[in-house]
Amino acid sequence: MEYVAQQVMNALAFGAEYALIALGLAIVFSIMGLVNFAHGEVIAVGGYTMVAFAALALSNPFIVIGGAIAAAVLMSLTLERVAFRPVRYADPTTGLLTAFGVSIILQNVFLLVVSPRPVAVTSLYFLDWPVRLMGVQVSSLQVFEAVTTVLVIIGLMLFLKRTTLGLAMRAASLDFEMVRMVGVRSNRVFAMAFMVSGLLAGLACIFIMARRGSVDPHLGFNPVLKAFVACVVGGFGSLPGAVLGGFLLGAIEVAMLVLLPQEYGGMKDAFVFGIIALVLVWRPDGILSPRTEKGDKI
């Protein structure tokens, strides 16, 4: 029983991490239709900021965490301004390929400027200690992760439903032309989307770094790959879909770890991606995608 509870907690923690990243992807996609492959590098920027702080002998955890999140937000805003503004109204393929290009550039910049090898970051180890929760042994990190994701979802919901800018963003995801016509500044909407996306990447970065304890140029690549899959499965551009997809992916991944025999361990990713592909065959546009006909304006 305890084993099952523990695995459920694992699945929730994995899922929470994927959901955080997937939300960051979905919010950008819903507004500008951009499949942001460079999201992983925004996460890595947060990680490298921690390295920089360690080098400056700043070990106050609040400074480290705040700095990493701020760096991720700044990076995300910079990317919007420099790389994605020229392709803002282009077709999705152009945006996707641009994001690919940005991702390659940043990975190689990390490789060139810092190091191709992993750099250890020890300042976040304090986040991880064993706790007993209702008789189940879990890591505090998993609890933090699940709680943060819940808070983020609530916060995002409040922001989107209760503020004017949130309303503008929701409207922009439906009909951007109309939003511009009623006098909302498009630059502000885009900047806000990327800011939220960067914030979520920063939060995800904290948890990834606390678990791994090191950063390398490909830090964000695999999590973002998984988060993409989560987005697509949930329904690309749908925020509830991103959360659902994230948790579903976490559950499948833990189930594969538990159920697959030891000697098939190396095939975990193949099975996970295979199951996801089958979900896509069942619902080609994702589980929670809105029902639209091709040719609809929205």
Binding site: F29, V35, A83, P86, V87, A90, D91, P92, T93, T94, G95, L96, L97, T98, F100, G101, V102, S103, I104, I105, L106, Q107, N108, V109, L111, L112, P116, L225, F228, V229, C231, V232, F236, Y264, G266, M267, D269, A270, F273, G274, I276, A277, L280, V281, P284, D285, G286, K294, G295
Partner: protein, 342 residues
């Protein structure tokens, strides 16, 4: 068979491209060193890959990222079939299904590789054609990851990241030049064929094309399988010359490299595919030379690892920002020489 005017123009264009490729082949054969010959050979392999990508991405305009996986499947099947039993006894001592107890001649190995890749592509393609836009991209990414983890995991068949060695050298530079000339004609004729035109119409206006009676899914499936077959050919050419293969060259780095080639030249045209491959293959060699920190005009440049990656990324980003259609856009090479559009 009667060709319509645009198909005739297509033949002229393909002939011009073929002439360029043959010229490059001749120059390297007579003046190139062994090392340069190898470089040009791998550039031609990438050309085959990029042409194969053009068939699906250029006509259906859906981004496919699994091309390196299909190339890998073709390369591995051909390599496993053609390698002599004596070598396989050493390299694959515990291969299942008696894979190390037989060997075929190069032609049947190649045919088998193409057939197996085509069947796999057909099965995967049945799923791909149900998806749209970004769904195709992510699905193809999943295919890439799955195929790669199978390569890595079944070390008893594929040897994972270790080299699968002892493949006899069947191909020479001449064979690959001939092969690319054939593929250039094939790809160009596909673009101008009824299927190609209908596919491009779907990409421009899916609802409109469907309303005119175009069977979109069937056409995409045809292009997908044809693309995979050509990718298998590229993989076979790769394995038949280099003598050793491993899983690494069929993963993300190669995906990015060939994608950059296709994008720079312009994925909509065959001329673009050829031009992009030539430019990036040549440009990347120069960047790699800079990367090692050479002495230039008396200045000792530092070693900069990762420069080639940055250069590739910059090429992609700049092309997308300045000329989303690539250098060639919608122009084929003969449009500069012959009068009148299509």
């Amino acid at each position: 068979m009667i060709l319509n005017p645009s198909q005739k123009r297509g033949l002229v264009g393909a002939a011009i491209l073929a002439a360029v490729l043959i010229a490059i082949g001749l120059i390297v054969t007579y003046f190139g060193s062994r090392y340069q010959l190898r470089l040009v050979y791998s550039a031609f392999v990438n050309l085959l890959v990029v042409l194969a990508m053009q068939v699906f991405m250029g006509n259906a305009r859906l981004t496919n990222l699994s091309h390196s996986a299909f190339m890998g499947i073709g390369a591995y099947v051909a390599a496993i079939c053609v390698t002599p039993v004596t070598v396989k006894a050493i390299s694959l001592p515990d291969a299942p299904w008696g894979l190390n107890t037989f060997s075929l001649d190069p032609v049947s190995s190649a045919v088998l590789a193409i057939v197996i890749t085509a069947v796999l592509a057909l099965i995967i393609g049945l799923f791909v054609v149900r998806l749209t836009g970004s769904g195709v991209t992510i699905f193809s990414l999943a295919v890439l990851v799955i195929v790669h983890s199978v390569f890595l995991y079944r070390t008893d068949i594929f040897k994972g990241n270790q080299a699968f060695f002892g493949i006899p050298q069947v191909f020479s530079l001449t064979s690959i030049v001939v092969l690319s000339v054939i593929v250039v004609f094939l790809v160009r004729l596909f673009r101008e064929s009824r299927w190609g035109i209908q596919l491009r119409a779907c990409a421009d206006d899916e609802v409109g094309a469907a309303a005119m009676g175009v069977n979109i899914r069937r056409l995409r499936l045809i292009a997908w399988v044809l693309s995979a077959v050509l990718l298998a050919v590229a993989g076979i050419a790769y394995a038949f010359f280099l003598g050793t293969i491993s899983a690494r060259p069929f993963y993300f780095n190669h995906v990015f490299l060939t994608l950059a080639m296709l994008i720079l030249g312009g994925m909509r045209t065959v001329t673009g595919a050829v031009l992009g491959t030539l430019l990036i293959s040549f440009g990347l060699e120069c960047v790699r030379w800079l990367e090692t920190g050479p002495v230039l005009l008396g200045v000792d440049l530092p070693e900069v690892l990762g420069l080639s990656g940055i250069a590739l990324g910059v090429v992609i980003v700049l092309t997308m920002a300045l000329r989303p259609g690539g250098i060639m856009g919608d122009y084929e090479i003969e449009d500069f020489l012959l009068k009148g559009q299509e």
